[in-house]
Structures are given as structure tokens and as C-alpha cells.
């Protein structure tokens, strides 16, 4: 999942003909001020970062003149908000606010959920906690979608009537269509605004996109890769190199996230990696990273990039290469890239401990490939994942004792 910034979200909605205030992103205050002139002088200036709660952080500024736009832009650019560097600001025309609503769609479980409230604008989580009756929830049938009937039912339940009802119902069904079209897993519109003429305007908009949907959105794919973030922080150079290889090389997948321990993990698949990580912590080992891998055509190349990243990490003291019983992928396809990087980096395997648990088809061949590295431990077929983790932690502890 990755979050689109406001400029991309709104450009997407504008393209679909939805009522969004005019706006653009800038990285220079002068250009922002000149653009504000075309909007009539005053504008809303917002820090362009992929997260919410900007208003409370002082990262949304209402201005009345282009000079004030300039000042606000200068103040915001280069600062940090909620851990994100503000490299750009979003300048948008001001909207007259008569009523504020909240609307969101999410698909983080089955069935997806629609959430609406007639008291938008404020922190919706607080509203919900204080008065859950003001937030109305509905299940989404993915085959029917959110139609006029369901939208009308929910908004009436939220106390909206008459012309206002017709306006919000219409924008709700259009926004659901946009939610599906974007391959979004979350769309939050807050606030959804009605002006004194009863016209609807999408003032706050956030979209979180399903990575599996990115092949249908090539424009976003590049942004997702370059700008991301291990969710709680930006990727470092080593993580970025793996992430880039993952996108550029076709077939298979590797994910690599650095942590603060010293035992490097080249583990997988999803479940077996989680189990080994838990076990390592339980017996006092400290992983230097986590990996998750999926087989496919490009996996050898992706492994090489990952193994290089592991050896580039200065904290790493030993390496555990351990996978669930390989049912289809030949074990040699994992051993070969490891051997290649060990040679390329001239790793002295007698001083740098490596534990390998690779069982299944091609096991004998994999063993032969790794035979040339003295000191490398290739565990026998009957060694379990439990045994592999224990071996790695034992050898790391032994290193400590020698010193």
C-alpha cells in the first residue's frame, strides 16, 4: 500500500470530472505566489506530504493575498511535518464552506466499508470515539458497488435531507467509482464541502493505492518506488537498491527492511520468514534485517542485489540463509547467487559465519555449489527451521565469547 500525495490524488479526481478546487504543487515560493494571483490572490497553502493531520501541525495555511502565499510557502518549504520533509507545497483556491461532511471507502478486509458523517472537517477518529452515532458505516458489495440507493440510505441515516442529500449522494457514487478505478484500498474525503449555493466540493482527499493494482497505473508505479518508505521511515540507500531491483528486474520478488541487529536474514517465504524471525528474538538473537522472497524468473538477480545490500550493512556479523522446504524452486537458484557474491566480495567464510538451510529439489547441487567456501555451514536435510535459527544464534554468541 502506498499513499498518493494530494496533488496526484486531486489531479486523478479532476480527470474523472469530480468537483475539486483548482490547485497545483510547487517547490518554489515565488512560483506559488504567481500561481495564487491567477486564483485571485488568496489561496490555501498546504505542505505536500503523504499523511493526514496536517491542519493540527500548522501545515495548512489560509491566505488572503499572494504575498501571504509567498510567506506561507517560504515558512513551510524545507521543514519537517510528521517525520516527512516538506519538499513541495500545494496551492489551491479557497472554497466557501457552508457545511462539512466526511466520507471514506476502505478495502482492508472483506467486505469493504463505507464510512460517512455529517460532521466532517474535524478529526474523525475523535468524533467517532466521542459520539459513534454521528459516524455511519456500511458494507460494500464489490459486485454491485456503492449505488444511489445505498448512498441515499446512509446519508439519510446521518441526517442529511433535501437538495443537500441529492448533491452528496451523487458525489458519493462517483467517488466510489473513482476508488475502484484507482485500485485504492483507502479513500478519505475530509472535508466534503457544501457552499451556500449547495454546490459540492472535494476539499480534502487522500488515496492509498494497492501495489498489486500498479500495473494498471504506470504513472504511479515509478512514484511508489522512488518515494517509499518502509512505512515508518524512508528507505536507506541499501533498501532503495533492493526496492529498485525489485521493480526493474522482471519476475519474482524480494523485500528487504533493515533493523538494528547483527544477524542478517535471507529468509522466506512469507510465513517461514516470520516464524524464523520470531524464534530468533525468542532465543536472544538480533536480526539485522528482514527479507521476504517470492520465486520467479528474475529471482537470482534480485537475490544478488539483496545479498550485496546485506554485506554493505556495516552492522552485520553473520548470515542465516534459510527457507521453507522448496517445493518448486530449485535450491541451486538460491545457492548460485550467494556463491557469486561471496566470490565478488572476497568474503572470508572462515571468519564470517554463514548458516544455510536449503532443502528440497536441487539440494545436492546447491551443496556442491557452496562446497568451495570453507567454514560455511550447510545444514542436513533433517534440520528444521527451528534448528537453523538456533545454529545462527549459537554461532553469533560464540563469536562474542571469543572476543
Amino acid at each position: 500500500m502506498f499513499t498518493l500525495t494530494e496533488d496526484l490524488t486531486k489531479a486523478f479526481l479532476i480527470d474523472l470530472g469530480l468537483p475539486v478546487p483548482q490547485g497545483l504543487a510547487f517547490d518554489k515560493s515565488g512560483e506559488a505566489a504567481r500561481y495564487a494571483e491567477t486564483l485571485g490572490g488568496g489561496a490555501v497553502v498546504k505542505a505536500l506530504i503523504p499523511t493526514g493531520r496536517r491542519g493540527k501541525a500548522g501545515a495548512v495555511v489560509l491566505t488572503d493575498t499572494s504575498e501571504e502565499v509567498n510567506t506561507a510557502a517560504e515558512r513551510l518549504l524545507g521543514t519537517e511535518v510528521h517525520g516527512f520533509a516538506v519538499e513541495k507545497i500545494y496551492v489551491e483556491s479557497k472554497v466557501e464552506i457552508c457545511r462539512e461532511f466526511y466520507l471514506s471507502f476502505s478495502l482492508d478486509s472483506f467486505p469493504g466499508q463505507i464510512l460517512i458523517s455529517s460532521s466532517g472537517g474535524v478529526d474523525i477518529e475523535e468524533t467517532h470515539a466521542r459520539d459513534s452515532e454521528t459516524v455511519i458505516r456500511g458494507d460494500i458489495d464489490p459486485i454491485q458497488g456503492v449505488n444511489k440507493k445505498q448512498a441515499s440510505f446512509l446519508w439519510q441515516k446521518a441526517g442529511v435531507t433535501g437538495d443537500e442529500l441529492a448533491a452528496v449522494v451523487s458525489v458519493t457514487t462517483s467517488l466510489y467509482d473513482a476508488f475502484v478505478k484507482a485500485d485504492a484500498v483507502m479513500m478519505e474525503i475530509n472535508p466534503l464541502v457544501l457552499d451556500s449555493d449547495g454546490a459540492v466540493s472535494i476539499v480534502g482527499a487522500m488515496l492509498a493505492i494497492d501495489e498489486n493494482g500498479l500495473p494498471r497505473h504506470p504513472d504511479w508505479a515509478e512514484i511508489a518506488d522512488g518515494s517509499l518508505i518502509a512505512s515508518w521511515r524512508k528507505f536507506n540507500a541499501r533498501e532503495l537498491s533492493v526496492s529498485e531491483a525489485n521493480r526493474k528486474i522482471k519476475g519474482g520478488a524480494v523485500r528487504y527492511t533493515e533493523l538494528d541487529g547483527d544477524i542478517a536474514l535471507l529468509v522466506g517465504g512469507g510465513g517461514a520468514g516470520l516464524l524464523q524471525h520470531d524464534m530468533m528474538l525468542a532465543i536472544g538473537g538480533r536480526p539485522a534485517n528482514h527479507t521476504d522472497t517470492n520465486p520467479g524468473a528474475g529471482i537470482e538477480e534480485k537475490f544478488k542485489v539483496t545479498i550485496r545490500a546485506i554485506f554493505d550493512n556495516p552492522n552485520v556479523k553473520c548470515l542465516l540463509v534459510s527457507f521453507n522446504h522448496q517445493q518448486l524452486t530449485h535450491c541451486a537458484r538460491k545457492a548460485q547467487p550467494l556463491a557469486e557474491i561471496l566470490r565478488e566480495r572476497n568474503i572470508n567464510t572462515q571468519e564470517f559465519p554463514i548458516i544455510v538451510r536449503l532443502v528440497g529439489p536441487g539440494e545436492e547441487e546447491a551443496k556442491e555449489i557452496l562446497e568451495e567456501f570453507p567454514g560455511l555451514t550447510y545444514l542436513p536435510f533433517d534440520a528444521s527451521l527451528d534448528d537453523a535459527v538456533r545454529a545462527a544464534v549459537d554461532i553469533r554468541n560464540a563469536m562474542e565469547n571469543v572476543k
Binding site: M1, L107, D108, S109, F110, P111, G112, D141, P142, I143, V180, D183, V185, D210, E211, N212, G213, P215, R216, A230, S231, W232, R255, T257, G268, G269, G270, G271, A272, G273, L274, L275, H277, D278, M279, L281, A282, P287, H290, D292, N294, F323, N324, H325, Q326, Q327, L328, G360, P361, D382, S384, L385, D386
Partner: protein, 298 residues
């Protein structure tokens, strides 16, 4: 017996003519799976492993008795392929592809329920009833190395772990009735609890082993079922991914579905909940056969 598939299940392979389909089908046929034909749009009339290939599922079903379909379609075509199989009336579908968009998986799940069908996957390596039949890559070219026939039902959110669980069961001198990799996606075609109910109803399954992960409500549904006291067989649960609780929510280190959005979705919360509901929660593979023996008194 076993659940979902056995030696008599007649199987259609959607995408048989592709590289993955052709290779997987060869291993399945060698294992004893009754694949009767293939379907690839636009390739009707072709032949793979001496099996006829049709242009549509409907056409294939007119020519053959078919009980189940295994789908090798790429991620962006998987939804259409599943719908086609459901519309042809098939009640068991194994959809293997990883990276199927979330909205497509939601439609698949809804369509499966609407048609009273079981869709295993997406993002699975398949299902196996050891010694009888298998669908998908599960077990590779020599399933007997890992999967011994027996009376333990296995359901896993991880394909790789389905092999490790079955291997642990085999090393403990036991065997598996059916092993199901239910798929690692946020929205699986069929919920975990449904497989557990099927194992409970199966006279040839004595105990059930499940593998859970962080994220999703799959384990909550299992716990709710256990609380009804309808589960008459021992359920042993191994859950992994507790370490993710050391990191901010919204981070996944494995399957996309293993992302924690909610405190209730953490592994430690799920362990507590399952244990309180009557499951036997273990922390390592080695404990699994020991707990089964304890429960079955052999």
C-alpha cells in the same frame, strides 16, 4: 477420505498451455491428479500432455465431466478466469496467481459466496490430499518427501509453511488428510474457518493444524467458531510474526495480508484469543506432532 479433492476429482486446468501450467500439470499428473483437459482462450484445439485444450470453460465442461478448476492465469486475468469457472458451475477453484489486485480479490470472494463455491487463493501454491491428488505447485515434483498420507488436516496462510507443517507432522510419524494453502492475500476467496469446519465434518480427519499470521480477521473467525463448541476435534495453532509488533502499524514484512492495522490483529492478541477459545497454541514446528499425540492419546 479427505476434504475438497481426492483420487476421483476431475480437474480442468485454465492456462494449461502457459509455461507454469504445463510444468505444474506434469507434476500433478505424475502424482495422480485426474486432469481431464485444459482451457486457454484463443488456443482451443491445442494439446498438452495428450490432454485436449478448449477455448472456454463452458466448452470444456460440455465435453468433459469436471469437478474442479486450477487457474494458472496471470494476476490481471485471474478475476475473469475465476468468474468464467463459476459461471460454468464449478464449485471448487484453485486460483494460484500472486499480485492479483485487491479489488479483483474482493469480487472473487463475493462471487464465490454467491455461487456457493470454494475458491482457494489467490496467492497460493495449492492443495494436496496426500497419496490421492494435488492441485497447484504444492509439493513440487516429489510431494512424498514432505506430505505423508494420514489423518491430520492442515490449513495455512503461507504456502511455504504448509510444507513445513506437513514435514513436521511426517517426522512425528503422522500424516495429512488434506493440506490447504489458503492464500496469502488480504481477501482470500474462502475464509480459513470454512476449511476448519470441513475438517471437523470429515470422518477421516482426527485433528487440525493451522498456521496464522498478523493482519486480517481470519483467526478471529476461527476463535468465534471455537467458542460455539462446534469444533469437536483438537485444533493446534502455530502463529508467526510477533516481532512485527515492535514496529509501527501498517508495516508488512511478509505477505501483504500480514500487515497489522489494528491491535486485535497482532499475533500475540490472536494467540491469546485462540487459546482462550480452546485451541492448542504452539510456538515451534517441533511441538506440533507432540501436541497431536497428546490429544489423540496414541
Amino acid at each position: 477420505m479427505s476434504i475438497l479433492i481426492d483420487e476421483n476429482t476431475r480437474v480442468l486446468a485454465q492456462g494449461l498451455t502457459g509455461a507454469q501450467g504445463t510444468r505444474d500439470a506434469e507434476f500433478c499428473l505424475r502424482y495422480g491428479t485426474k486432469i481431464v483437459c485444459g482451457v486457454t482462450p484463443g488456443k482451443g484445439g491445442a494439446e498438452v500432455h495428450n490432454l485436449p485444450v478448449y477455448g472456454s470453460v463452458k466448452e470444456a465442461c460440455q465435453q468433459h465431466q469436471v469437478d474442479a478448476s486450477v487457474i494458472y492465469a496471470p494476476p490481471l486475468s485471474t478475476k475473469e478466469a475465476v468468474i468464467e469457472a463459476l459461471e460454468a458451475g464449478l464449485k471448487l477453484i484453485v486460483a494460484l496467481a500472486e499480485f492479483v489486485p485487491r479489488h479483483d480479490t474482493a469480487i472473487i470472494a463475493a462471487a464465490a459466496r454467491e455461487n456457493g463455491a470454494v475458491v482457494v487463493g489467490c496467492n497460493t501454491n495449492g492443495i494436496i490430499s496426500p497419496g490421492k491428488s494435488k492441485l497447484g505447485a504444492i509439493g513440487g515434483d516429489d510431494p512424498s518427501e514432505v506430505f505423508a498420507p494420514g489423518r491430520i488436516g492442515v490449513v495455512s496462510r503461507s504456502g511455504g509453511m504448509s510444507a513445513e507443517l506437513s514435514l513436521a507432522i511426517k517426522r512425528g510419524g503422522l500424516g495429512v488428510s488434506t493440506c490447504i494453502s489458503m492464500g496469502g492475500d488480504v481477501i482470500p476467496g474462502n475464509p480459513m474457518v470454512d476449511y476448519i469446519k470441513r475438517f471437523v465434518a470429515d470422518p477421516d480427519t482426527d485433528a487440525i493444524v493451522m498456521f496464522g499470521e498478523p493482519g486480517t480477521k481470519a483467526e478471529h473467525e476461527v476463535a468465534a467458531y471455537l467458542r460455539t463448541k462446534a469444533c469437536t476435534k483438537p485444533l493446534i495453532a502455530l502463529l508467526a510474526g510477533e516481532f512485527q509488533e515492535n514496529y509501527p502499524k501498517g508495516v508488512s514484512f511478509g505477505h501483504v495480508a500480514a500487515m497489522i492495522n489494528d491491535v486485535e490483529d497482532t499475533v500475540s492478541a490472536k494467540r491469546k484469543m485462540l487459546s482462550a477459545a480452546g485451541a492448542i497454541v504452539v510456538n515451534s514446528l517441533g511441538e506440533i506432532p507432540i501436541k497431536i499425540q497428546d490429544q489423540l492419546g496414541s
